[in-house]
């Protein structure tokens, strides 16, 4: 909200991307070439007319992509003036983006093996501004140039802080948690499925593949074949998780620089280097999925705007640790927020009223019984067997649902602790959120008709960061909701709350 014109700065020259990027872009020629090769192998080199057309279209699409990217590389110009980061791109549709440096939330530098061979890196800038896309991307910079640019973009708050230094470094013992985090078996199954579907493009049917696999086992009975395949899938899945962990977290190092900027370095094949300004961090989340809880592991996510990567652009940026022992995760949280004991530690949180448990139980039962009732109704009309199926499903699933409801209720809790508002919730993913109280932008108390009847309320805490830009304290007691709202931002609610 400053209106005065920026002072005249001497013209800063525009810089370009590296020419070497053109070599990287040649990767777009790999899929068509590979497709032709695969096809040739499977058919013995006889290109039918239909296959020829398909391969032709495929090649055409990739050549178009290659041309588009090449034009982008050749026409991109960028510069950092005193206050702004500017980016120009395009020939026909020219785009000019200019963002103030104080809007830069994070800088993410990555280099895949191809880039590294050529001494290049990709640099992404997260702005946290929804109107013009979350991210600006420079597809190819020389390493030294990227380093200079990064230093210019993420400056930290400038003031030296306590606790500068390494917050966490890779320990190979964490490898044991990796199968808990990636859904490895599922991943392999999906990959296999996709691969088989892809072969269909060349006229190779799934049945042919199955027949071929069956042939490998000779005379073995079908169930044994399936058992061997399932075991193989699990082994492959676990191996895949270990490999994925190694690739993602090799050389992991999470540190705080003297100027108060966070840096996360990691990666084996693709190296990543994330930098963000500490003053932009609105809080920390301790994430424990159900599997991770069973093994006593947890992960730390940062709450900051501009952390949403473009879909499909690698792993979650906001996760600054892999799954680590819960105590270690809490130690890292304590170092990040500079408060000890850490606000996320397993400690006394204000529990929610029993009415919240009753709500969860009721919902759990309805989630099971309503579909079962529909199934039974349909069954009664057309297929009597379905009634029995519905009854068995209901009897088996209601206890499970009730257990989950109880677990969900146990997770609920909130408390104001130091500079942070702590909120815990969730069953499948249990999240303990520690939100900076000075980052709270607005607060809402919300009540549905049933909540009014049972004396509950939900508090919506709006921040500039995080999913949906809000964190919810669900089903707190109405009194407790008012108390925590008033305590989170002192003086904000007090004129509007009275003792009855």
């Amino acid at each position: 909200m400053t209106a005065e014109a920026p002072p005249e700065t001497p013209e800063v020259p525009w810089r370009r991307l590296s020419w070497r990027m053109l070599a990287v872009n040649a990767k777009w020629l790999v899929p068509p070439v590979l497709s032709v090769a695969v096809y040739a192998v499977f058919t013995g080199g006889n290109l039918g007319k239909e296959a020829f057309t398909r391969l032709g279209i495929l090649t055409g699409i990739f050549v178009l992509v290659l041309l588009g990217e090449t034009v982008d590389v050749l026409t991109t110009r960028f510069r950092v003036t005193g206050e702004r980061f500017e980016l120009r791109r395009g020939v026909l549709a020219r785009r000019h983006k200019s963002i103030p440096l104080d809007r830069v939330r994070r800088v993410d530098v990555t280099a895949n093996p191809l880039h590294r061979m050529l001494g290049l890196v990709v640099l992404r800038v997260g702005t946290g501004q929804r109107q013009d896309g979350e991210e600006l991307k420079l597809a190819a910079l020389r390493k030294d140039e990227a380093e200079r640019l990064r230093a210019g973009l993420v400056t930290g708050s400038g003031e030296p802080r306590r606790g500068a230094g390494v917050l966490a470094e890779l320990r190979w013992s964490w490898l044991r948690y990796s199968p808990l985090t990636v859904t490895g078996v599922l991943g392999i199954a999906i990959l296999a499925g996709a691969g088989i579907r892809a072969l269909e493009v060349f006229g190779i049917r799934p049945n042919d593949v199955f027949a071929w696999v069956r042939g490998l086992f000779g005379e073995l009975e079908l169930w044994k074949v399936l058992a061997v395949l399932a075991a193989g899938l699990i082994v492959l899945g676990v191996l895949g998780c270990l490999v994925a962990f190694a690739d993602e977290w090799w050389g992991y190092r999470f540190e705080r620089a003297e100027d108060g900027a966070f840096h996360v370095r990691r990666g084996l094949l693709t190296k990543r280097n994330l930098s963000l300004d500490e003053s932009r961090v609105r809080g920390v989340e301790l994430v424990e999925t159900m599997l991770m809880r069973s093994a006593g592991a947890a992960r730390v996510d940062l709450i900051s705007s501009g952390m949403d990567a473009e879909p499909g652009e690698g792993p979650r940026l906001k996760s600054v640790t892999p799954a680590v022992p819960a105590a270690e995760a809490n130690r890292i949280v304590a170092e990040i927020v500079g408060e000890s004991p850490p606000p996320t530690a397993e400690a006394w949180l204000e529990p929610h009223p029993k009415a919240a448990l009753r709500r969860r139980r009721l919902r759990a039962v309805l989630v099971v019984l309503v579909p079962a009732a529909v199934l039974a109704l349909v069954g009664a009309l057309v297929q009597p067997v379905l009634v029995a199926v519905a009854a068995v499903a209901a009897v088996a699933l209601v206890p499970v649902a009730l257990l989950l409801a109880a677990d969900a209720y146990r997770a609920l809790g909130h408390r104001v602790r130091g500079r942070y508002l702590v909120v815990r919730a969730g069953t499948a993913d249990r999240r303990t959120v520690a939100l900076r109280r000075d980052g709270v932008l607005a607060m809402t108390i919300r009540r549905s008709p049933t909540q009014r009847l049972s004396g509950l309320a939900t508090v919506v805490v709006a921040t500039s960061a995080g999913k949906g830009a809000a964190y919810l304290i669900r089903d707190a007691g109405f009194d407790g909701a008012l108390a925590v709202a008033d305590e989170t931002v002192p003086g904000l609610w007090s004129p509007f709350v009275r003792r009855g």
Binding site: M1, R130, L441, T444, A469, A470, F478, D479, L482, F496
Partner: protein, 166 residues
């Protein structure tokens, strides 16, 4: 924490003609939905038994009537707003109700909006946004003149706030 806490409703009501505005909106919604129901009924005539169709029609008409009569009145009772020296405070909704406070130091923009119906009744909606999509405060159905005053006050306050209000 001995005595129970309760919320003080915001100080101001919206003008009672806002009730007429909500009634007209409810009437439009009702007409559209009833037309859809009627269309489906005609289409399903012969497929479903006549008694069932009649029952559906009766329920639809009763629901529509209840919405038309109840919604504007309950909304009017709930809808309140207040601007203090430090914050904007509103209560809104009818079935689901909410009370929202945004500190003025966090306000980024202040907008007024007047749809054709609102213009007809001399009403306006003021939207106060913060840097969070979940933190916008809406005061719907203000009288046009009051809305102008509110915008003037809020703009003056927010312009004097340094920083980008994140």
């Amino acid at each position: 924490m001995s005595e129970p806490l309760e919320l003080v409703p915001p100080r101001h009501r919206v003008p009672s003609r806002a009730m007429r505005w909500w009634t007209v909106r409810a009437a439009i919604t009702d007409v559209v939905l009833l037309a859809v129901v009627a269309g489906c009924a005609v289409w399903l005539r012969g497929v479903l038994p006549g008694a069932l169709l009649t029952a559906i029609a009766v329920v639809a008409v009763l629901t529509a009537a209840a919405y038309l009569v109840l919604m504007p009145r309950v909304r009017y009772r709930v809808h309140r707003w207040e601007v203090t020296a430090d914050a904007v405070y509103t209560s809104s909704g009818w079935v689901w109700q909410e009370w929202r406070v945004a500190p003025l130091s966090r306000v980024q923009t202040v907008d007024t909006e007047r749809g054709p119906l609102q213009q007809l009744f001399g009403l306006a909606t003021v939207t106060v946004t913060t840097a969070s999509s979940a933190g916008a405060v809406k005061i719907a159905g203000l009288s046009h003149e009051v809305a102008k005053d509110v915008v003037r006050t809020l703009t003056a306050v927010t312009q004097s706030t340094p920083g980008d209000a994140t």
